[in-house]
């Protein structure tokens, strides 16, 4: 009995260890001045894509439901938290404000996940992919067209332009249509991003090893059998999907507090971003949480680092994609990795 427990917890510790080690190395490189400012600027985005990948893997690999709209959950998390931080920019101290921004971004993303889940997750079949795809695009386009302002009387919303908000003299435009949100306090930094990643990993990995996690994976493995042993399918699907959306929302909060102008463009929140996150998940190994983190970091940094190579950039990126696929999925490679980790285990136990 002991053996089984320590194996799973050791596995978890390895994941935390990798993240913390990478964090220490990168911070050391940066403070030693051995990192270009370009690369230093990529650290927070890299981390929030890792968070988004873990969130999506929880949905795809653990729950077994395909979502193509996780960029949409990032988007609502980013916007709702940025609105909050802009409104309370002067009135709340930075730390508390950012904490509350997380609470709000996560809650709003979770709410959207929950609302989408209610009609879709009770259906049998792959409807979630289509609905989430539509959700992501709709959210992106709506936020592109919306104007939001605040004056002493409260909030004003318009879909035409900022003049139509009809605000008083002291009014302040928060969302300026396609121009987005300007001047969100840049509360995010690499340390906070890594802490959020660790929290997300903690939640996901602990949940997988709990009663709820087993029920969720049972549904993935065999829905009919899961029902036959008394598992409420809809309840657990809703739970897992809502948590997944909430975590993507947390990634969105980091996003909006790491950028001076938040715009709802395809580049950041379109379906191509959802697909990109899915690529991280697939190449890192569906259901492998640690794999998602590693794949997201490598595959996010790589094309950025290769910018100087210009012409060959996408070629090298493609080769790395193929190499990662082979490393992760080829039987021989898997066996090698198992043996490697088995050795580790023996030493540690």
């Amino acid at each position: 009995m002991k053996k089984g427990l320590s194996k799973t917890s050791l596995n978890q510790l390895i994941t935390y260890g990798i993240v913390i080690a990478a964090y220490i190395i990168l911070q050391a490189l940066r403070s030693a001045g051995m990192m270009t400012s370009h690369l230093a600027g990529l650290l927070v985005p890299m981390t929030y894509y890792a968070i988004a990948a873990v969130a999506l893997n929880f949905c795809v690999g653990i729950l077994g439901e395909l979502s193509l709209g996780h960029a949409g959950f990032m988007c609502v998390g980013a916007f709702s938290s940025a609105i909050f931080s802009n409104v309370f920019k002067e009135t709340l101290p930075g730390g508390l404000r950012f904490f509350l921004a997380f609470v709000i971004g996560i809650a709003v993303a979770a709410l959207f996940g929950f609302l989408i889940g209610i009609p879709v997750l009770r259906l049998k079949g792959d409807y979630l992919a289509i609905v989430t795809l539509a959700f992501g695009e709709i959210i992106k386009n709506v936020l592109n067209a919306v104007y939001l302002g605040k004056d002493s009387k409260g909030f004003h919303v318009s879909m035409t332009n900022s003049m139509a908000l009809g605000m008083e003299e002291d009014g302040k435009v928060i969302i300026n249509g396609a121009m987005g949100i300007n001047g969100t306090p840049r509360d995010a930094n690499f340390t906070i991003a890594v802490i959020v990643l660790l929290i997300v990993l903690f939640i996901v990995q602990n949940m997988i090893n709990s009663r709820d996690g087993r029920a969720i994976m049972a549904i993935r493995d065999n829905r009919i059998a899961a029902e036959s042993v008394g598992i409420n399918i809809t309840r657990y699907k809703m739970l897992a999907f809502t948590i997944s959306a909430a975590m993507a929302g947390a990634a969105g909060v980091l996003f909006s507090h790491n950028i001076s102008t938040l715009q709802s463009t395809s580049q950041y929140f379109g379906y191509n971003v959802s697909i990109l996150i899915l690529v991280y998940v697939v190449l890192g190994g569906i259901g492998s949480i640690r794999g998602s983190v590693i794949a997201a970091c490598i595959l996010y940094l790589l094309p950025e680092m290769l910018r100087s190579l210009n012409k060959y950039r996408m070629l090298i990126y493609a080769i790395v994609l193929i190499a990662m696929m082979i490393i992760n999925w080829a039987p021989a490679a898997r066996e090698m990795r198992e043996r490697f980790f088995a050795k580790f285990r023996k030493e540690a136990v």
């Binding site: 009663r211 709820d212 493995d221």
Partner: protein, 252 residues
């Protein structure tokens, strides 16, 4: 009053009346056989009893409670557990986790406890682990606790499915062709296991079996189904010597 009472149960699939006016009484502690040629509607009866299909007509009562039309997971909670003709294990999970999933509704802690791994989580998980091991021991599978369930040999997979069903603490256990695809050794072992469950847990069992000889050996009562209708039902001896039954089987 019988543990399970089924009255005039029928279901139509389009034009096909797969089960027609089905009646059944199973007393507590009985080992009951449901037999009949392929396509007779036996699995469909199981699917009706467990809420996978909603009956077109009829009433199902378990232990005095009407469960007709209830959802599958509610029916399991009410006390019916089953295995499947085509094995349905949680393939990507270990042997013991399959049983633990069956224990899901007997042990509780909150989602938050599960995320934070609180003392409550630890305590209940330990109980779950012990209970799951107890069950695996009954089935002689404790040595394979950490195997991936899909890596088990066929006979062991069938046994694990029974163990998982038993983990839900049912009043009535439904076994759908548990010996299908087994070699004679595995079949003999399975029969022992079924007897064992019955004695040890005082379980009421309804068993579908294709092979009449096998069923004659362990069941006290039989119902014979043919083309969705009951051909005969009663004591095993009487039923098996019924010329109609012999004809249905030879005519197959």
């Amino acid at each position: 009053m019988a543990l399970l009472e089924v009255r005039n149960l029928s279901i139509n699939f389009g034009g096909l009346r797969a089960v027609d006016e089905f009646n059944l009484d199973i007393e507590k502690g009985e080992l009951y056989g449901l037999i009949g040629p392929n396509g007779a509607g036996k699995t469909t009866v199981f699917n009706l009893l467990t809420g996978v299909y909603k009956p077109t007509e009829g009433i199902i009562t378990l232990d005095g409670k009407d469960i007709t039309g209830h959802r599958t997971e509610e029916i399991n909670k009410a006390g019916i557990a089953r295995t499947f003709q085509n094995i349905r294990l949680f393939r990507l999970q270990s042997v013991i986790d399959n049983v633990k999933i069956g224990l899901q509704n007997q042990y509780h802690y909150s989602t938050i406890s599960g995320i934070l791994h609180t003392p409550d989580y630890r305590k209940v998980e330990k109980e779950i682990d012990e209970r799951a091991m107890e069950l695996l021991k009954v089935f002689g599978m404790d040595g394979q606790r950490d195997y991936l369930s899909s890596n088990l040999p066929y006979g062991a997979q069938r046994k694990l499915e029974i163990a998982r069903a038993m983990a839900t603490n049912p009043k009535l256990l439904l076994l759908d062709e548990p010996a299908a695809g087994m070699n004679p050794n595995e079949t003999a072992e399975l029969m022992e296991t079924i007897q064992l469950i019955r004695d040890k847990f005082d379980m009421t069992i309804l068993l579908i079996e294709h092979d009449m000889k096998l069923v004659g050996g362990i069941c006290e009562k039989l119902t014979v189904l043919n083309f969705g209708r009951i051909l005969t039902q009663g004591d095993t001896k009487t039923v098996l010597s019924d010329p109609e039954v012999i004809k249905a089987y030879i005519g197959e």
